[in-house]
């Protein structure tokens, strides 16, 4: 159960190979982080799940069913989608943005708006913001709205397309923490696309590092990848050689302080 990519590839008419023979399983209630640079096919793979892109060969299965056999529009409405920055409907007030999918599927507007208020609170926003237009919110607030909107129809699956890529690091951390808290409560099956390895390690139960052309460089839990990068590409990508990744401890007044390669303190080792 969950999502399965079975030997999918995507070749464009001009010969560009975006994805080559990719197979991977995402168990239900787990988060898969697809991480790679631009051109690694990570977004293409995610977009195959809700049929924004159909694979050239292979199939994508949701709970064992080939998505190709499902109606595109109905399928998309059943899957939560968190776009990159700037994906909210700028002409709809925040509440109506959040209520979009329920209204599309026939929930009465008033009811959908009431649910939307609760969702705003759930993602840590003041419901008073519901009356504003997206352009009147900060980038971080907008992405919270995007998460609320994706959750509105209570989908089993969430697709997240570099959702926090355009916000500053402090806000990003807040948003990531919020998502982890929500996920602990809701247990969605999540496919997250990111170019930020730290984000992939933080949010992903399972991480797939992709190299150009949608080829898997390494697949595993964050710990596995960090502990044993498969090759130089992955080692480089996760920054295994970087100073902040090579930690050691020094004794200071009887406590073991963890420092990085530049001797900067990172934390204290618990007994």
């Amino acid at each position: 159960m969950g999502i399965e990519f079975r030997g999918v590839s995507k070749t464009y008419p001009d010969g560009t190979v975006a994805v080559a023979d990719f197979s991977c399983q995402v168990p239900s209630h787990r988060t898969l982080a697809l991480v790679g640079t631009s051109g690694s096919g990570k977004t293409t793979l995610m977009r195959m799940v809700n049929r924004m892109i159909d694979p050239t060969t292979g199939e994508v299965l949701i709970d064992g069913k080939d998505v190709r056999g499902l109606d595109k529009v109905a399928l998309r409405r059943s899957i939560g989608y968190v776009p990159q920055a700037g994906g909210l409907l700028p002409h709809r007030r925040v509440l109506d943005n959040v209520a979009t999918v329920p209204v599309l599927t026939g929930t009465p507007k008033a009811e959908a708006r009431t649910q939307a208020v609760a969702l705003l609170e759930k993602v840590g926003l003041d419901p008073a913001l519901g009356k504003r237009f997206p352009g009147q919110l900060s980038g971080g607030q907008q992405q919270r709205v995007a998460v609320a909107r994706a959750l509105a129809a209570d989908p089993n699956i969430l697709l997240m397309d570099e959702p926090f890529g355009a916000v500053d690091p402090i806000v990003r951390r807040d948003l990531q923490d919020q998502l982890l808290a929500l996920q602990a409560e809701l247990g969605k099956t999540i496919v997250l696309v990111t170019h930020d390895i730290d984000e992939a390690f933080k949010l992903g139960d399972q991480v797939v590092v992709l190299r150009t052309g949608g080829v898997i460089a390494q697949e595993g839990t964050p710990q596995q990848i960090m502990a044993a990068p498969a090759d130089d590409f992955v080692r480089d990508f996760v920054g295994a050689g970087r100073a902040e990744r090579s930690l050691r401890t020094v004794d200071l007044d009887g406590r073991r302080v963890v420092v990085d390669g530049d001797d900067r303190p990172v934390g204290v080792l618990e007994k």
């Binding site: 529009v73 109905a74 700028p90 002409h91 999918v101 599309l104 599927t105 237009f133 352009g135 900060s138």
Partner: protein
Amino acid sequence: MTWLRLNREQVVDLLWQHLSLAIPAVLISIVVAIALGRVAWRWPRVGAVVLGAASLLYSVPALPLLIVIPVLLSIPLRSETNLVVALAVYGTALLAGTAADAFRSVDSRVREAAEAMGYSPTGIFWRVDLPLSLPVLVSGIRVVSVSTVSLVTIGALVGISSLGSLMTDGFQRGIREEVLTGVVLTMVLAIVLDLVVVAAGAALTPWQRRTKAGAGA
């Protein structure tokens, strides 16, 4: 002002006739131009041909057009339909390119996100593309409405009554006040219609007025 006082009823009549010619022509132009603009936006190659043809059409002088249309549609030369069709042709030609630009002005990230959420293609057109293209579209509609109001006067040359009739009649009979009344009222009407378009545009795009007032995260 004696002439105007003596002929007030006729002038008001002509004013309404002027409007009854201009408004349908502008409305038809908007609908047809949006359709053509959509095609041009969706299929750029077809669009280049369509938009090229449109600007060629715009270069056809008005008088010959008013004589050709009745032949093509087999309607009387002096019918109001003749003038409305001619004005709609010009209006469409003027607006089609802007309509294509208007669709191009819609942020593709927004359109894609809407598609990914499960808007149907029709839903995207009516609820995403059309509203979001309004700001650019309105700027084009303003040009068309002003140009159409002033072009209506040309119908007087083939005997279709409007404020233009005051100009032809005034010239023939040498009544300066009558000509002046026609000119000034046509200009006033154009300005008033422009204001109406601007107000309607603002009312339909409330999000445009209040962006970027945002607070912190």
